[in-house]
Amino acid sequence: MAEAGLLVLASLAALYLLLFVAGRIRRKDSPKRAVLTGGGSAGHVYPAIAIGRALTPEVSEFLYLGTRRRAEEKVVPKEGIPMRFIPAAPYPGLSPWLPFFALKLVLGIVKSCFHLYFFQPRYVIGTGGFVSAPVVMAAFKLNCIGLLKCRIYLHEQNVAPGKLNLLAGRFARKVMVTFPESLIFFRKNGIVTGYPLRKTIIKEDPETARKKLPFPDPGKRTLIFAFGGSQGSRTINRAVVDSLRFLLPLKDNIFVVLSAGLGQTVYKGIEDVRARLAANYTETERREIDKFFHCDTYFHDVSSIFSAASLVISRSGAGSLFELASMGVPSVLIPKFGLAGEHQVMNAQAMERVGGAFIFYENPMKEDGRMTEGVEGREIAGKIISLVGAPTVLAGMKLGSGKLLPPADPLEAVKMVVMEGRQPESVKCMPFRPVKSVPDFIAEVGAVRAREGRNFSIDKAFKQPELDYYRAKALSLLYQDDWRLKNLGVKLAGLLKLKQSAARLLELAVCRREAPLPERLFGADFEEVGFVRRNCFASLTAIGEWGDEWEGAAALGFSDPYYEVRVEALKMAAANSRRLKDPGRFTALARGLFEDREFEVVKESVILLGEIGSAEEIHCLLSLSEHFFWQVREAALFALRRMVERKVPCDHGKLKEEASRFVLTSTDFRPTFGIKENYRDLMNALGTE
């Protein structure tokens, strides 16, 4: 047995030695070779290719490692870079798919090891996406055991790093980031290089650029360019088309160009645009529009358009933003909602922070009877009109967007970092807060409110740009199907005192559509679940408006089958007791709830009576003197005091006598700990200095 073991060990050692020596020989000219990896989506592939270009001619051999059936399979071969495929899969979380993922990861690492060993590159560049995980891990491990001697660099395109780069960052020699904000995620080895653009966009003189435009000469008119990536964006297309109505008066001053999208995927941009134009505008209107609007599927030479444009409307992918920054073009950004880490939102916020852009968040809109997300044409038009009339603002934005750029050209910077190990000129970033998930944000607001107490105002505690995002997010959540998401939206709307959500909240609160049968067997009632209905009332109370629909909703809430909803509806009525148009109706309803089987409902109805009741209700309250629940008796005493405060006419002497008959024994109490109170007072006294 021992001999067999020794034999195995010896052969392994011999194999390793062989590999080691062979590797060294192959490595002789390794500085000429680099492995590029990154994929899953095009946003990772193009920077990888660009970095590859930046490293030539010193690096002459490239190998791209990617996965099949993803963006890189189509794009990379077109660039003439040899490509090999490795198995990879996105991380599925703690789910039954985990073992499959682990298996695929191991296979991917093994295959990468083979490719890396035989290629012996000097540099391994990863740009993100789950495919770079096995490659980077394999490179790191081979480095450790001496079968490879390479330098691993990662590049992060967005402000908020993808999961992969966060994990793999520690394996890399340096992580090159686009935005200085990303440095907080890579404190040890982050470097700001900017975004390596694939095609160098050259800034041209606006006059010359205008002559090269691929569409009829707009003359002296202000050029506005809107685009949504190579495949177009439905939101942008529709928003622009809708805005044309409001821009008609300016047809002699502005010229709008829209890149609708190539239509290679499901969305056929140009057809959507034409259909919308036909549906929403008359013949005469369309003829007028044609005089200042041009639409095409795609524009190859964006340099001249960017140089000539005064304003751009686009999404906020890292690449697009960087192109805008390089050209110094002011922009109106419409970030794509709900992407991982909200990276488009964070990119857009970075541009907004330096003053280079205005952000419009997508809001839920009713379209052909269905709810979609989009931006109102009227709002876009309003912004365009105001900006066109304010050239100083536009000039300021031009300057601002340039601030997003690092001092050195990204391609040069990348080369400096990768090949010479030097640090490009460092950039400071403005203080900012990353976008949080909604539950985290709600928890944070709760914590701040607990600290501030009575002085709390959400507009003072948080900055407006941050709140703008959460307002849009709240509205979007309100129209989700999953009740848990809807619930988050409702809670958020209440915290933000979001008036625009009131209509939807009222709708949800009084919904009476029945839940499906299986759930009803377990205790469910309506399609809009109890928590959602309850929180709607609570949020409506927080928003603090009032109107006829509000009053009607409150009255309906009193008869909701779920007791927590009745409680919140009663609280809403009590909070707005002075605004009630028909207090008599509510008095009757409240008296009716005295017999409710839930004591909390009785308690709240008693409190409501205290606010709106008249002399007749006094004896009702007195009848509760021996109620089983001390909470109800306590509420009755409170309500009687409120009536006295409100100067409801009554015989004080008689009331005193009747009130003294209240049963005052209670089964509960609130403890006060003297030592804790003294401690708190001491801390407060020290804190106010």
Binding site: L94, W483, E519, G523, A524, F599, T667, F673, K676
Partner: protein
């Protein structure tokens, strides 16, 4: 330990009187209870002071109930008191070579260890949400339950031949179910459920410790009967030789609990934390399985069952699925508080209920 010392001395030296006492379960039980009580009292004050110094304070999850927020600042992990005094007393007074004793001690210490890791994780995170995830805890508990089940079904079990895969029910003299696989699955699930139920009950000052004491004491009586050939035959139980040693353990636990209650009563100076709650759960679970009284637990440990049941129902069906509460609050003690009972009143009333249930469970000894 003293048992073995006593026996050795009695065999080799002449003084049988006092040393014979050491052979009796009854004597050793009382001694074990007093010892564990003494150890707890000795350790308590220094331990509480130590915890305050090292800031091992309780970070309760935000339940929204006013009285709960006053508990912040109370040291947790007081379960260490119970664990140490119980283990020490058991090692001193029980026959450590006995299969029953080994299995119960092993369960107790494993779950205590698990609870300790969870408590430490919560300390590092400085929040009630920072402990081990529910999934991880379940996996670790499941691993032990699996091992325990396999031991019970195998020949390593301390039961007589053939008893391992039998399921008994109260009121019935003979086994209700026989079959290794079905019984095995049942015991596995039962173990996990019971070991968690004490943890859920541990929510108010003194709430978990006294009912645990009632349950374990009643089980101690069962152990005595089952381990005594005369009594077992008279009361129509299957006799398991050696099971009587569990009475010593039960008394050790009773002593430790009473001493712990001294400090844990409202307002508490120390909490048992997951260390104590999981350890007690493991103790009760292994006790009932080894005495084959699993089906007695819904009656004897009815409080734990109701607390666990309401808590799971409210969470899994109500809050997570249907989107509304099924009970006003869960577990049971929160519901009682919600209805307007002071914390101390809730605790005492639940003690009374669990005491009555323990008596009812004991009554089933005769009703067969």
């Amino acid at each position: 330990m003293f048992y073995y010392i006593g026996r050795y001395l009695a065999e080799n030296f002449q003084d049988p009187g006092f040393l014979r006492l050491l052979g009796y379960i009854s004597f050793r039980s009382i001694a074990a209870a007093l010892t564990s009580m003494a150890i707890t009292f000795l350790m308590a004050k220094p331990l509480i002071r130590y915890f305050h110094k090292r800031q091992f304070l309780d970070y309760a999850r935000n339940t929204g109930i006013p009285s709960a927020s006053d508990k912040s600042g109370t040291p947790t992990m007081g379960g260490i008191l119970i664990v140490v005094s119980f283990a020490a007393s058991a090692l001193l007074w029980a026959q450590v070579g006995n299969g029953f004793v080994i299995l119960v001690l092993f369960s107790f210490l494993y779950f205590a260890g698990l609870g300790y890791m969870d408590d430490r994780a919560k300390q590092s995170a400085r929040s009630g949400e920072g402990g081990y995830s529910e999934k991880l805890k379940l996996v670790l508990q499941g691993l032990f339950a699996l091992g325990f089940t396999l031991v019970v079904l195998s020949r390593l079990a301390p039961f007589p031949e053939g008893e391992g895969s039998l399921l008994y029910a109260p009121f019935f003299k003979h086994a209700v179910l026989s079959g290794a696989v079905i019984y095995g699955i049942f015991v596995f699930l039962y173990f996990i459920a019971v070991s968690n139920s004490v943890n859920i009950t541990d929510g108010l000052d003194g709430l978990a410790i006294v009912p645990s004491m009632f349950v374990v004491s009643a089980l101690g009586i069962f152990a005595y009967i089952i381990g005594n050939s005369v009594q077992a035959r008279y009361l129509q139980f299957t006799h398991y030789p050696g099971a009587g040693e569990l009475t010593v353990l039960a008394s050790a636990f009773a002593g430790a609990s009473l001493a712990f209650l001294w400090y844990n009563a409202y307002p508490a100076q120390i909490f048992m934390g997951d260390t104590g709650a999981l350890a007690i759960g493991g103790l009760i679970a292994s006790f009932t399985v080894l005495l084959k009284q699993e089906l007695l637990f819904p009656l004897l440990g009815g409080l734990f069952v109701v607390e666990a049941f309401t808590s799971q129902l409210q969470d899994k069906i109500g809050v997570s699925w249907l989107g509304r509460r099924l009970f006003h609050r869960a577990p049971l003690h929160h519901e009682l508080q919600y209805r307007g009972l002071a914390e101390n009143k809730v605790v005492v009333r639940l003690w009374i209920i669990s005491g009555v249930l323990a008596l009812l469970a004991l009554a089933t000894i005769k009703i067969r």
